[in-house]
């Protein structure tokens, strides 16, 4: 029996995890396991809670994408009460959601996944973070990213009460309408977001695509798996984060199934392993065949790469151009290279920004009628959205008072859990040979999961260089107490 290497904890993602790599006597990898050592039990402890509290309770599943859970829960409530929100409410919801997709995707690219490409996967540990990224791309860009995220997050607070754990979702609508002033702010934010999306894609091209070593990694077999792909699409089969039908394509790219969220139980199932607290999703009709790829295995992927694969395009022009460029460069659809998620994510960022622009300039956005009061007796409701990390299902059963009796949640990353486990295993086998292991090599193993999981970011390290800085410190009454200038 060879030695065991443990990466604990894995870093630059949201949540806990460890990777155990088991080497044989020759020092090559027998197996690598990606274990999720945490569970909180939401599916159980929401029993007994009023259904209208679910958007705010389930948002605590993830403080990075609380808006995703909030939205999935709100849509489940629409279904629960069989109530259709007014158009203004639906548009505002999707607009807030678009702003959220932009800022969350930006966070992942610049602060989580970014360091692996921008600084380099085997760079010194202390540099593989936002500090290192800014050292390469410059402080000006750093300010741009921080500033854009802040602008969009302030918009979410404006419309939703709070940005971390918003409060606006109600069955049949949203809690408050928008004013003309609010709309102007959203328009400004959307314009900034579109420009930022284009800029990010150019940066990706410059820093990653023009670097042959990185391209080699992206298309290498160590980071490639051929699985099914799933994503939410609109009536034209274009990517939509807020609403639509689920579309699944097989590893050859052909449409395998298309279904409404209400039918998810016929299509998606969860598998349990004794070595992880996370459950592994698979396609029911294909079946669980173990951690294997190919058309015979029910394992599928979600999130940016999968969404691009499972759709037939982007619904906005600039993003559509980027989409076409993406597939042209990588040799057609579908693309099976896991690391291509980073590129696909930026294309989605651009789409979300353009979509935000469309909605923000819609005159209906300032309509005061944003609530339809439910009248039906609640019983069961299912809601789906595309979270940044993948398809998110919320399913509630309630009594006649609207108190939850049972809940089922399939949370984005779970859809990817099996493929992530396979990716980590394959990457480990690809980069660890003859017992040679160092920090950089272990990070290359971690890169295999990082491509799937956009999460937290960090904007909390010092910015390098001689960047002029003005820092203002505010107290809890938003009064400025100190101003510090440098340069």
């Amino acid at each position: 029996m060879g030695r065991t290497i443990t990466i604990d904890p894995i870093t630059r993602l949201e949540g806990h995890g460890k990777i155990d790599v088991f080497l044989n006597d020759q020092g090559n990898v027998d197996h690598a396991y990606f274990q999720v050592p945490e569970l909180r039990g939401f599916e159980k402890f929401v029993e007994g809670r009023p259904a209208e509290d679910m958007p705010q309770i389930t948002s605590r599943i993830c403080g990075v994408c609380p808006t995703a859970h909030h939205m999935a829960a709100t849509k489940a409530l629409d279904d629960l009460y069989k109530v259709e929100p007014p158009e203004a409410a639906k548009k505002i919801r999707e607009m807030i959601y678009s702003a959220f997709m932009v800022e969350d995707h930006a966070l992942h690219f610049y602060f989580l996944g970014g360091p692996d490409f921008v600084v380099g996967p085997t760079a010194e540990k202390a540099k593989r973070n936002i500090l290192g990224v800014l050292g390469v791309v410059g402080a000006e860009i750093g300010l741009k990213v921080i500033g854009l995220r802040k602008q969009l997050r302030d918009l979410i607070s404006l419309a939703g009460g709070k940005v971390i754990h918003p409060v606006f979702g109600l069955p049949g609508g949203i809690s408050k309408a928008l004013s003309k002033e609010d709309q102007a702010k959203f328009v400004a934010g959307a314009n900034a977001a579109v420009e930022f999306g284009q800029f990010s894609l150019e940066l990706f091209d410059k820093v990653v695509l023009k670097n042959p070593k990185y391209v080699e990694w992206i298309i290498s077999p160590a980071y490639t798996h051929q699985t099914y792909y799933m994503g939410l699409v609109d009536a034209q089969n274009k990517v939509n984060f807020y609403d639509g039908s689920l579309r699944v394509v097989d590893p050859a790219g052909k449409e395998f199934s298309k279904f409404k969220a209400q039918d998810y139980l016929q299509h998606v199932a969860e598998h349990v392993e004794p070595w992880s607290y996370v459950k592994f999703c698979f396609l029911k009709s294909v079946g669980w065949k173990g951690f294997a790829e190919g058309a015979d295995s029910g394992i599928y992927a979600v999130a940016p790469l999968a969404r691009l694969n499972a759709s037939q395009g982007m619904a906005t022009p600039k993003a559509q151009g980027a989409y076409e460029q993406f597939f042209k460069t990588l040799g057609g659809k579908p693309v099976h290279h896991t690391l291509a998620n980073h590129w696909a994510r930026l294309i989605e960022l651009l789409y979300a920004a353009e979509r935000m622009q469309e909605l923000a300039s819609d005159p209906q956005i300032i309509d005061p009628n944003v609530r339809m009061l439910p009248t039906a007796t609640p019983k069961e409701g299912i809601g789906v959205v595309e979270a940044p990390r993948g398809t998110l299902f919320h399913h509630y059963e309630t009594d006649e008072r609207g108190v939850v009796t049972r809940a089922n949640l399939i949370v984005a990353t779970q859809n990817n859990a099996a493929r992530i486990a396979m990716s980590v295993d394959k990457a480990a086998k690809g980069v660890i040979h003859n017992g040679h292991v160092d920090d950089g090599i272990l990070n290359m193993v971690e890169m295999a999961f990082r491509a799937y999981d956009p999460c937290h970011g960090c904007a909390s390290h010092a910015l390098p260089g001689q960047m002029p800085l003005i820092v203002r410190v505010y107290d809890q009454h938003h009064e400025m107490v100190k101003e510090i200038r440098r340069n």
Binding site: R12, D30, P50, R60, G63, I146, K150, H165, S460
Partner: protein, 337 residues
């Protein structure tokens, strides 16, 4: 002089507290000039082994968010306590138990049963459950133990200060960090937030009647909510009077009632008891039958009053009958769940 070292860690957490720190944006730049962040799994690649290699007290301050749910979280809480001069419970979960604390209405067996066996999408005919230790392909894989009961950070290790909120409001975070770096901290054990109820800073305070009486309790989805008027006066269950302020009444700004995430002021031990007392005081009913009818609108008293604070409450969790007799999978010997 080398910069003080700072750590951030998360237990049974959603990551929102991490995002709140990030939301300091420009405000934190002065701080990060002054400190070295040496452990923050969400953002930096330092591992547990790096913390274990530190000297005791090497960390000037460590902010820990998330509730304590597993054995790994207990270990990390203890490890970080040893390595830190100051340990700050950051956010509702570490302060009071938070929303994961609602799991104290159930136990491990009930949770595992639902999550891994009876949930409708689960395909698990063998009834497999995650195990603390299992042999797979000749290798041994381990998982932390999942406890029956969620605990707060100060029920696990000694805590020096608390930053309340879900998540803590950005200005409070900035204030707390500044106070720590300037050495201007109040007495140990203080919650680093204003010690007055939310009503005092609520923009709708003017429309809150002096004699507040609710005739009919309403749930938010049942009525159109006036964006100007006091929410309690509209018959909605706003817990503002029972809740510590400092958040700028953000939820009220979103036109929804306060749900109590900042916890109680320092004068109160059990938040839920005070919240229920608030509702009882303003209910406009005197006859027993009338009272019962009004209270029927309150469909989830425990979940409403203890949404964020069940583990920290006096009763701590739902009483279990025959607990030790049941045993159940994963039961460590007397790990006191």
């Amino acid at each position: 002089m080398s910069k003080p070292k700072v750590g951030f860690y998360w237990c049974a957490s959603c990551g929102g507290c991490e995002e709140a720190v990030v939301d300091l944006a420009e405000d934190i730049l002065k701080v990060v000039e002054a400190v070295d962040i040496v452990f923050w799994p969400v953002a930096l690649d330092f591992k547990r082994a790096d913390v274990e290699a530190m000297k005791d007290g090497e960390l000037a301050v460590c902010f820990v968010n998330g509730a304590i749910r597993t054995s790994e979280q207990e270990e990390m809480a203890n490890l970080l306590r040893r390595k830190s001069q100051l340990l700050v419970a950051f956010g509702s979960c570490s302060h009071l138990g938070g929303i994961p604390g609602l799991a104290n209405l159930f136990d491990r067996e009930a949770i595992f049963d639902r999550v891994y066996r009876t949930a409708p999408s689960v395909d698990n005919p063998a009834g497999t459950l995650p195990q603390e230790s299992v042999a797979v392909n000749g290798s041994r894989l381990t998982l932390p133990a999942f406890r029956d009961t969620v605990r707060t950070l100060d029920q696990t290790v000694e805590v020096d200060y608390y930053l309340p909120g879900c998540p803590p409001p950005v200005p409070l975070i900035a204030g707390a960090v500044t106070a720590i770096l300037e050495g201007k901290l109040p007495a140990k054990g203080t919650v680093l937030a204003p010690d007055r109820a939310l009503c005092h800073e609520c923009p709708r305070q003017a429309s809150k009647p002096d004699k507040l009486l609710i005739k009919d309790l309403k749930r938010p989805h049942q009525v159109l909510i006036d964006p100007e008027k006091c929410l309690l006066a509209q018959g909605l269950l706003c817990l503002g009077p029972a809740t510590r302020g400092g958040c700028g009444a953000a939820c009220i700004g979103g036109n929804m009632p306060c749900t109590g995430c900042m916890g109680p002021t320092s004068h109160v031990k059990d938040y839920g008891a005070k919240a229920l007392s608030l509702i009882a005081s303003i209910l406009d009913a005197d006859e027993e039958g009338e009272i019962e009818a009004h209270l029927d609108a309150l469909v989830d008293p425990v979940g409403t009053f203890y949404r964020y604070s069940l583990p920290a409450s006096l009763l701590h969790r739902r009483v279990r009958t025959g607990a030790s007799a049941e045993g159940g999978a994963n039961h460590g010997s007397h790990d006191h769940d």
